[in-house]
C-alpha cells in the first residue's frame, strides 16, 4: 500500500474506480447494501461529464445501459439480491450483441426479500446466471476495499477486451467496510474508439445493425465465435491467491468476506500446529482451476467456507479438484464465519469426526 491512500467504503471505491476507468454512464435503482455506489455516482458522475440516471426500475436502468454501451460509452450498474435478479434479461441482450458492461452485485443474504446483511448465496446467479441463452460472465470477487478499486478498474478493460459483461461480485461486508485504498489513475475513454458502436453514420456508409448477432452472421459462425471466446476467457482470466498451501493438510477455499476470515483462521491455526492453507478465488468465473493443479501430497482435503445453506461453490471446487481429495463444507448461511469456528471445523475434519460433503 503506497502512502498515497484514501479511506473509503468498498462501495465508494468501486464507484470512484469506475469513474477513473472512464465510466461515463451509470443507471441503477437503490437497494441495500450497495446504494452508496448509486449515491456516489449521483454526486460525482456529472463532474466528469457523464450521465447518472436513477432508473424507475432495474430493467429500465439496464436497458438504458444497453443503449449507452451500444453507443460506445463505458457503462456500469449495480444492485443486490432481488434487484440483481431483475437485471438478468438485459445481461442476455448485452451478450447477444457482444456488448461490454460492468455490473456490481453486492450480495445480501437470503431468498425473496431475505436480509440486508452480507451473504454469499448469489454465487450461482452470478456464475451461472445472466438470463436465457448460453453465456459466460467474467466474475471478479474482491476481498478488500483496495481490491474493489483495483478489480473494478480492471473490469472495464476486460469487458472491452472480450466485449462481454463483467461482474464485480462483492457482499454486504466488503461493500460496507472502510479500509485504506490506493486509487488508480484517471483516464478518459473515447466513445468512437471502436467500429462496432452506434454513431449515427451518413447514408451509404455501412451501418451497425444491433440485433441478435446470429441474425447477421448466422448460427454456425456465432457459435464458433462465442465458444472460442468462452474458452479464451476461461484459459486467460483465472485469478486467485494461494496462502500457505505449500505444506497444508487442509486447504480452505473461500472468496470475499469468508476469505478474509479464512486468512485469520490459517494464521491462528498454524500457531496451534494445524496446517491450514487457503485458495482464494479472485475470479469465481472463470473458477481458478489452475490453483488446484500443483498442490502438495500433504493436502488431505478441501474445505469450502461459504455463507450459504448448501454449497454453491462446491461444484466448481469438485471440478477443479478432479476428485483428487474429499470436499468438506463449512457453511455458515446467514452468519459471517468466525475464525475459531473454521479452525474447530478443520480440527474435526482432521480427526475424522466430519464426513465429506455431497455436493447437491
Amino acid at each position: 500500500m503506497s502512502a498515497d491512500y484514501v479511506l473509503m467504503k468498498g462501495n465508494e471505491a468501486i464507484a470512484e474506480a469506475a469513474l477513473r476507468a472512464g465510466c461515463r454512464f451509470y443507471a441503477g435503482y437503490p437497494i441495500t447494501p450497495q446504494s452508496e455506489i448509486l449515491e456516489y455516482m449521483s454526486v460525482n458522475m456529472e463532474k466528469h461529464g457523464g450521465t447518472f440516471i436513477q432508473g424507475e426500475n432495474e430493467i429500465a436502468s439496464m436497458s438504458m445501459l444497453f443503449g449507452a454501451s451500444a453507443a460506445g460509452a463505458r457503462v456500469m450498474s449495480s444492485s443486490s439480491g432481488p434487484g440483481f435478479d431483475l437485471k438478468q434479461e438485459e445481461i442476455s441482450y448485452l451478450t447477444s450483441n457482444n456488448l461490454p458492461a460492468v455490473l456490481v452485485n453486492s450480495m445480501r443474504y437470503g431468498t425473496g426479500d431475505g436480509e440486508i446483511t452480507p451473504g454469499q448465496d448469489s454465487y450461482w446467479v452470478s456464475t451461472r446466471g445472466g438470463g436465457h441463452g448460453d453465456k459466460r460472465l467474467i466474475v471478479l470477487a474482491p476481498a478488500s476495499v483496495n481490491e474493489c478499486a483495483e478489480l473494478t478498474y480492471l473490469a472495464f478493460d476486460l469487458a472491452e477486451k472480450y466485449r462481454n459483461v463483467v461482474e464485480i461480485l462483492t457482499d454486504g461486508a466488503i461493500s460496507q467496510m472502510i479500509e485504506k485504498c490506493t486509487l488508480p489513475p484517471a483516464k478518459e475513454h473515447d466513445i468512437d474508439k471502436f467500429d462496432w458502436t452506434l454513431t449515427g453514420k451518413p447514408l451509404g456508409v455501412k451501418k451497425n445493425k444491433m440485433n441478435n448477432l446470429t441474425n447477421i452472421i448466422g448460427h454456425p459462425a456465432y457459435s464458433e465465435m462465442m465458444l472460442n471466446k468462452f474458452k479464451t476467457m476461461f484459459a486467460e482470466e483465472q485469478r486467485w491467491e494461494s496462502v500457505e498451501t505449500e505444506d497444508a493438510e487442509l486447504v480452505l477455499v473461500a472468496y470475499g468476506i469468508s476469505s478474509r476470515v479464512c486468512k485469520t483462521a490459517v494464521r491462528e491455526a498454524r500457531r496451534s500446529g494445524i496446517k491450514l492453507g487457503l485458495i482464494r478465488p479472485i475470479t469465481v468465473w472463470p473458477f481458478p482451476r489452475k490453483a488446484f493443479e500443483a498442490l502438495p501430497d500433504s493436502v488431505r482435503g478441501f474445505v469450502t467456507v461459504e455463507m450459504s445453506i448448501s454449497s454453491q461453490m462446491g461444484e466448481d471446487i469438485m471440478m477443479a479438484a478432479k476428485n483428487s481429495r474429499p470436499l468438506y463444507g463449512c457453511l455458515t448461511n446467514v452468519n459471517i464465519p468466525r475464525a475459531k469456528q473454521i479452525i474447530d471445523f478443520c480440527r474435526d475434519v482432521l480427526s475424522g469426526k466430519i464426513e465429506p460433503m455431497e455436493v447437491i
Binding site: 446483511t117 461486508a173 460496507q176 472502510i178 479500509e179 478474509r260 459471517i336 468466525r338 475459531k340
Partner: protein, 178 residues
C-alpha cells in the same frame, strides 16, 4: 495492534467516532478496517462499529476478542463485555449506566459523556467526550495530537465548532477508573 468496538444507540455518533479514530490511526499504522452494523439499525436501535488497527494484514474484519470496548449505553456494554480480553479496556458512558458491577479482569473507565456534552452546550459531542476518555485510558495514541487531528477532521467536513475539542478534552479530564 488493537481490536475495538464502539457501540451505543443509533444517533449517538458511534459511527462518526469510529471514523474519526480510523482517520487519525491510518496516518500512523499500515492497516485499518472499519465495519458497521448498517441499514435498519441507523436510528434509535443499537449501532456499533468495529475497528481493527494493525501493521499486519487484516484478515477477519470483525474482531472476535476485543482490546477496547467503548460503550455509550448499558445494553451495548452488556452485549459486548464478554468479548473483551483479559487486561483489555472498557470505556462506559456513566450518564447512561445503572448499577453495574464491573469485572476485575478488565480496566473499566467511566465518564458522564452525555451530561458533559449537554453541559458544554454540544449535546451531539458525547461521542467526542468518550474518545477523550478512551485516549486517556488506553494511551492508544498521543492524546494531544489526536485532539488536533479530531479538530482537522471536522474542519475538513466543514462543520467544526471549538466546543468539539473542548468536549474531547473534558473527556480526558473527567474519565475515572472504576
Amino acid at each position: 495492534m488493537a481490536d475495538i468496538i464502539f457501540a451505543g444507540f443509533g444517533g449517538q455518533g458511534i459511527l462518526t467516532a469510529g471514523k474519526i479514530l480510523i482517520d487519525v490511526a491510518a496516518q500512523h499504522v499500515k492497516n485499518i478496517c472499519w465495519t458497521s452494523s448498517y441499514g435498519a439499525a441507523m436510528r434509535g436501535g443499537t449501532a456499533s462499529c468495529s475497528i481493527i488497527i494493525s501493521d499486519e494484514e487484516i484478515g477477519n474484519p470483525y474482531p472476535e476478542e476485543l482490546d477496547i470496548l467503548l460503550a455509550m449505553n448499558e445494553p451495548s456494554y452488556h452485549k459486548f463485555i464478554g468479548d473483551v480480553k483479559d487486561g483489555g479496556y472498557v470505556i462506559v458512558n456513566g450518564s447512561l449506566m445503572g448499577d453495574v458491577e464491573y469485572p476485575k479482569n478488565v480496566n473499566v473507565y467511566s465518564v458522564d459523556a452525555t451530561d458533559i456534552a449537554n453541559g458544554a452546550g454540544n449535546g451531539r459531542a458525547a461521542n467526542l467526550v468518550m474518545l477523550g476518555a478512551m485516549m486517556k485510558a488506553t494511551g492508544l495514541m498521543d492524546a494531544d495530537s489526536f485532539g488536533e487531528s479530531l479538530n482537522s477532521y471536522f474542519e475538513k467536513k466543514g462543520r467544526n465548532t471549538p466546543s468539539n475539542l473542548e468536549c474531547y478534552r473534558l473527556g480526558m479530564e473527567k474519565a475515572e477508573k472504576k
